[in-house]
C-alpha cells in the first residue's frame, strides 16, 4: 500500500513536469489524503507501552 502511495506521488510529479498543473495539484491532494487515511490506520494501533 505504501508503495502505491509513493507511486501516486510519482505520477503527480510526472503530471507537474508535463505541464498539467490542475491535475498535478489535484493528484497531490488526493495522494496526501490517502496517505493520511493510511496513517490513521496505523495510528489507531494500540500503544503497547501504555498497557
Amino acid at each position: 500500500m505504501i508503495a502505491l502511495l509513493f507511486s501516486l506521488f510519482f505520477v503527480t510529479a510526472g503530471l507537474a513536469l508535463r505541464g498539467k498543473k490542475s491535475l498535478a495539484l489535484a493528484g497531490a491532494y488526493l495522494s496526501l489524503f490517502l496517505s493520511l487515511l493510511w496513517f490513521f490506520h496505523h495510528a489507531s494501533d494500540e500503544l503497547p507501552i501504555l498497557l
Binding site: 508503495a3 509513493f6 513536469l17 505541464g19 498543473k21 498535478a24 495539484l25 500503544l47
Partner: protein, 181 residues
C-alpha cells in the same frame, strides 16, 4: 534567472539529501523502516511535490499551501511515533543520529519547513514569475532537482514494495517481503 524557482529547487535537493541518507541507513546498517517511518518519508516526498510545482509552474500560494499542508501531515506522523517512544526507559526505533532518533529529527524538520515555507511564501515579487517552463528552459539547478527527486520517489516506491508488498507493513519488520523464506 528565476531565482525563486531555484530556491525551491534547493529545497527539493535538501529533502532529497535527507531521504538519500535515510535510504543509505536502510541498506548500509540493514535497518528496515517501520510503517510510520515510511509514512514520514511520504510526508517529505509530498512537501517536495509542492516545491516541484513551484519549479515547473512558477511560485504560487496554492503550491506553497500544499507544501505546508504536507508538512503538517508529516509532522503529525512523526509526532505520533515520538509519542510511542517518549516514556523514559522505552527503547526507541532504530539507531540515533546525532543523539536523536530519525522520527524526532523528522518532526523538527517538518516544523522547520512549515516556518520556512510560510516566510518564503510571504515574499511578493516571486509571484511575477508566471507560467510552465519546459525541460530545456529550466535552469540547471532546477533540472538537477527534478532528476534527483524523480529518482528518489521511484527508488522509495520500489524499496517500500520490496519491504511490505501490496498489503500492510508489519509493525516491526525484520525481513523484506519480497525476499522472505
Amino acid at each position: 534567472m528565476h531565482p525563486y524557482r531555484q530556491l525551491n529547487a534547493l529545497g527539493i535537493i535538501a529533502i532529497s539529501a535527507m531521504l538519500t541518507y535515510a535510504f543509505a541507513d536502510q541498506f548500509v546498517n540493514h535497518e528496515l523502516p517501520c510503517p510510520l517511518c515510511l509514512l514520514q518519508r511520504l510526508g517529505f516526498v509530498a512537501v517536495s511535490i509542492g516545491l516541484l510545482l513551484n519549479v515547473t509552474h512558477g511560485p504560487r500560494p496554492s503550491h506553497y499551501g500544499f507544501a505546508i499542508a504536507a508538512s503538517v501531515a508529516g509532522g503529525a506522523m512523526a509526532l505520533r511515533q515520538v509519542s510511542l517512544h517518549v516514556i523514559p526507559g522505552t527503547p526507541g526505533y532504530g539507531s540515533p543520529f546525532l543523539g536523536l532518533h530519525f522520527y524526532t529529527w523528522a518532526f523538527l524538520l517538518f516544523a522547520f519547513m512549515i516556518a520556512a515555507i510560510a516566510m518564503i511564501s510571504s515574499l511578493p515579487r516571486q509571484y511575477d514569475d508566471l507560467g510552465w517552463l519546459q525541460w530545456r528552459q529550466q535552469p540547471l539547478l532546477c533540472k538537477l532537482a527534478i532528476v534527483v527527486i524523480t529518482i528518489i520517489i521511484s527508488l522509495n516506491a520500489l524499496a517500500a514494495f520490496s519491504e511490505c508488498g501490496p498489503g500492510t507493513c508489519p509493525d516491526n519488520p525484520e525481513q523484506y517481503w519480497l525476499f522472505q523464506d
